[in-house]
Symmetry: C2
């Protein structure tokens, strides 16, 4: 499936903010992301999974240079909600495979995750689209992950890197 994947991208210039235990009802996501937008803070890898007992977590990443302001905006938005916990994680990287063939190649996701497994790299978050699979990992493991993905998908000469992909 060497043609399914066009490249591997690692983004290390990011931090992760997780908002834990938000009420899973209409308006809550807007409550956080409208102020972030008004503050002109670009968010990426917004991830929310299914809720448990009416509560959900929302995580996202921002550029390191936006970390302080993003955290402030989220803390302000969280205040009226009560029992919400905010976690800040500066030691994260986003490692992604990109390619038009992802949606049509059923095996690609498992192969990417198996690369991480063989390197004993823990996958902390996953977010996908039809042309991109992104995994959050420890920043110090990003280079190792990229090398392993390049080797597996035969992309040694097509390395793409972006400081804010």
């Amino acid at each position: 499936n060497v043609h399914a994947i066009r490249g591997v991208v690692a983004d290390k210039n990011i931090v992760k903010i997780s908002i834990l235990g938000v009420p899973d009802k209409p308006g809550v996501a807007a409550n956080f992301f409208v102020p972030l937008g008004k503050a002109r803070i670009k968010t990426d890898m917004i991830v929310q999974n299914i809720s448990h007992e009416g509560r959900s977590d929302i995580s996202f990443v921002v550029a390191q240079s936006d970390a302080r302001e993003a955290l402030r905006a989220v803390q302000q938005a969280a205040a009226p909600l009560g029992s919400v916990e905010i976690q800040f994680d500066p030691e994260i990287a986003k490692v992604s495979i990109v390619g038009g063939g992802i949606a049509s190649h059923a095996e690609v996701a498992g192969e990417m995750f198996e690369c991480f497994s063989k390197e004993k790299i823990n996958i902390e978050m996953i977010s996908t689209s039809e042309i991109k699979i992104s995994c959050a990992v420890r920043k110090q493991q990003a280079d190792q992950a990229v090398r392993a993905l390049h080797n597996h998908f035969g992309l040694q000469n097509q390395k793409l890197e972006a400081s804010r992909a």
Copy 2:
């Protein structure tokens, strides 16, 4: 920001499978998605957020026609792991905004979520990339969500629909 967003896509021909409480250690994601790939089941909207007490949830969607086989593959892969719960949700739809301007327009995510909020539509999962923001909602609310997004982003004449986007 009418140029930031190129279209709205709704995918109703999908079901959601959530694997709850998997150990958050290397190899677990591969444990599920390698067999899915071998069974040639195309997965989309793979979502995993941060773990709690060493356990995490992994959700994904498949085409309705793949539901039975996907569920079987996941149940088999879960068996050795012990206390893992599998949830199956056929009443889900994926509603997405697509556009090259998403990454560079900080306000777009909040505006999308605010559309759902105004319609009192609950956002059940979120997965993003630089050119796409996808939200999982109840299937019967998908059309209403699409109309609201079209109206907000001024896309009445650019409606894109896909049975498997």
